[in-house]
Amino acid sequence: MEAVALLVIVLLAVWLQGFLSNRFAFNKLNYKCHFSTAEATEGDNITFTEILHNNKPLPLLWVKAEIRTSKWLSFADTRSFIAQEIRHVTSGFHLGLYQRTTRIWKVKCLKRGVFNIDNVILVTSDLFGVHTKSMPFPAGIKLTVLPGLVDLEDILRSTRNLQGDIIVKRWILDDPFIIAGAKEYNYTEPMNRIHWQATARHGQLMVRKNDFTSNQSIRVVLNIQTVEYYHPYTIDRDLIEYGIRIAATLFDRGLKLGIPIGFASNGSFSENDGSFIYTTAANGSIHASQLLYTLARLEFRINTGFDEFFGDISQRIEESEVIIITSYLEDSLNEMFNSLLDRGIAVKIILLNEVYNKTNLYDEIPVYTVKAGDKK
């Protein structure tokens, strides 16, 4: 009789804990998560915060939060595994009654991109795994990792000049309408340039300092096709990632110098299938950040071969200078670049690969190659 009683009590206890867990596990359980910032740059260290609140008088022995994110967000190395492009993170919690746990993960942004975490699945069960329950909690968070910048002077090598060229923006005469600041009067400037307020403040004669301007504008063209023949996806992605960083650096330079910059690429956004990218040229920090955001979203999906794409856009180019970032050169492309030069548009080529064909390319078109070893 006692044996039966013991058996019944054990079974009852096991059933009861299972029932309580099954019935009330997700009651008054709140989960929230967010990144410390909505926008970061490649290589940045940010944080990812999870807040789990068990607001009921029933402890949860364990709760597993399953997070699916990109493998390019490096965190939870010992508590995650990577399958293809996805990082599966398992975040284990144990919650007493009325307990809130805030977990702050240290995240390193390895590569540019737009990363979403739509749902986080919470899993919990009773002591013996008889009743395992899971529930998706909407997260709806987005992190944009902008491409990092590179040191152009350090990495670019001209095929003509080993010192390399530097993009500068100077004209012979300064623009009397653009004032860069004030400087000391050196007795050569005309009297009408004296800045009286600054003179009063400094106690010595100061003159207005004017900046140099021109109607210069640049279009950066990025070819994400790494081989001459067409393939719907980029083959050497690391090479193009490097090209994207170069493009980002050019945008940054453009912003600093105030040069209007436009961008074009035969790549696409995932949500924008069947088209290519062509932005208008403009300057200003908003435009620059939009261009960087465009680069962050760029996918390695090629909708049009580069020769066809460039043929389409070359007629639309109105900028004074075109910088082409490409992995290869071929005769048909060289012809198109030559025709741009014939139209009075300066052309510069940044070649991501060291093997190239420039037999029919005009000598006036400078070609820069990226130093080996800098591409990773």
Partner: protein, 439 residues
């Protein structure tokens, strides 16, 4: 990667569980034949044989697990068998044979555990077989009077078996859950395992209490009865001091002559004394009982708070290379229970209130009480301004409290008789505040 130490501990626990359901069979045979269990020495020897099997295999097969090394491990069974012979040879041939058989069996169990995980050593099949065997032992020892002395031992083995089985199955469940698509990369945090083990021990304690509830209840009743007797004797003793020996009719045996004893014949004095005694006892009960009840409630609240501290995992900051954990306890349970009681009485008073000033004062009291329940610490000495400041500082919906406080101040300290519109305004503010508070 699993923590190696935890893995080893669980392996040992699994082996121990196998031991728990196999060992009583050998003991029962010995007891049937010799009316002795062999004592602790037999248990230790068989446990030693089992763990020797595991240890020797680990040492022999450390580098390669080939046929030859396996054969060598199994052949080493001779060691525990010899040890059994040396230890028990003087007890007779059959005894020695039983011990040899037991040593060999447990040694092989230890050897076979080498390549297995704890879940494989003690799998579901073992659980069913073990449960069946232990119940069978219990039935046998309960029904065969010869084996009846083994009943306690079997009970202890059963309870240990239940505890260890629950622990193993629970840990196995955690390991399975924290494996992702068959990839055992994520490590289960030690704290989760610890918390789980704590829960298992609590569940086991609950089972023990339920199983022994009859004995517990009878022990408690016995204790209460003894306490009652002691108190009665004490009261009688005190009364004997008030009413000393020889002052009454006395029984002549030197015992206190109690005024209300059967021997007492002085009815008038008896009745007066009885009356006074009853009055004193009733007065003492009136004074003491509420205090005793209050003390009991306080004790229960303390026990509850202690239990909450036990189930609370930790209330601190935990930092490792990958993440930082901040754990907070979001509700003060003791405060909540006491405050809830107060809240109910305040609401009932508010419903009954007819005067507008009283209504406003009660609404304010409910708000302050609710805020306390929310965990905001408000001292009795705090002014209304300080209370409003604390609420706005620590609660995002706290801005409404300023207006509510000014109305309350005007009624409470300005002795202003509020207009209907003011009461209405206060009611709206009160409703909005309490609604937000409930979120």
């Amino acid at each position: 990667m699993k923590d190696r130490n935890i893995g080893k501990l669980l392996n040992i626990a699994s082996l121990l569980n196998k031991f728990l359901f196999l060992f009583p069979a050998f003991v029962a045979v010995k007891y049937y034949l010799y009316e002795t269990t062999g004592g602790i020495g037999a248990i230790l020897l068989q446990l030693f044989s089992m763990f020797l099997g595991l240890t020797l295999t680990t040492v022999i097969c450390r580098k390669e697990y080939y046929f030859t090394t396996k054969l060598l491990s199994y052949s080493a069974v001779i060691i525990p068998i010899l040890l059994s012979v040396l230890t028990f040879s003087q007890r007779g041939v059959i005894w020695t044979l039983i011990e040899m058989l037991a040593s060999g069996t447990f040694y092989f169990i230890g050897v076979s555990a080498y390549t297995k995980s704890y879940g494989e050593i003690f799998d579901s099949q073992n659980l069913y077989v073990g449960s069946f065997l232990l119940i069978l032992y219990l039935i046998i020892v309960s029904n065969f009077s010869v084996l009846l002395p083994l009943k306690n031992m079997v009970y202890i083995f059963i309870l240990l078996f239940i505890l260890i089985s629950m622990l193993i199955k629970s840990e196995e469940n955690i390991d399975q859950v924290f494996m992702l698509r068959g990839v055992e990369i994520p490590e289960v945090q030690k704290v989760i395992r610890k918390y789980n083990a704590k829960a298992i021990f609590s569940l086991f304690a609950g089972i023990l209490i339920l199983f022994n509830i009859r004995y517990i209840v009878s022990a408690v009743l016995k204790f209460i009865f003894i306490l009652y007797l002691r108190i009665t004797v004490l009261i009688l003793y005190l009364m004997s001091l008030i009413y000393p020996e020889g002052s009454g009719q006395g029984n002549g045996a030197g015992k206190p002559d109690l005024p209300y004893g059967p021997e007492s014949t002085n009815n008038f004095l008896d009745n007066i004394f009885k009356f006074i005694s009853v009055v004193i006892i009733l007065y003492l009960a009136y004074k003491i009982v509420p205090k005793v009840i209050k003390a009991i409630f306080k004790l229960v609240a303390h026990i509850k708070a202690w239990l909450f501290r036990v189930v609370k995992v930790r209330d601190d900051k935990y930092d490792d290379d990958e993440c930082v954990d901040i754990v907070e306890f979001t509700k003060q349970v003791e405060v909540k229970k006491l405050g809830k009681k107060k809240k109910n009485s305040l609401y009932s008073a508010l419903r009954k209130a007819t005067s507008p000033a009283e209504k406003i004062r009660l609404m304010y009291a409910i708000i302050v009480n609710d805020v306390r329940l929310k965990g905001i610490k408000i001292a009795d000495s705090d002014t209304t301004g300080q209370i409003a400041g604390k609420i706005t500082d620590s609660w995002k919906y706290g801005e409404d409290i300023r207006e509510i406080t000014s109305i309350y101040d005007s009624v409470r300290y300005g002795e202003e008789i509020p207009q209907d519109s003011t009461v209405k305004f206060m009611e709206q503010g009160f409703k909005g505040f309490t609604d937000k508070m409930g979120k």
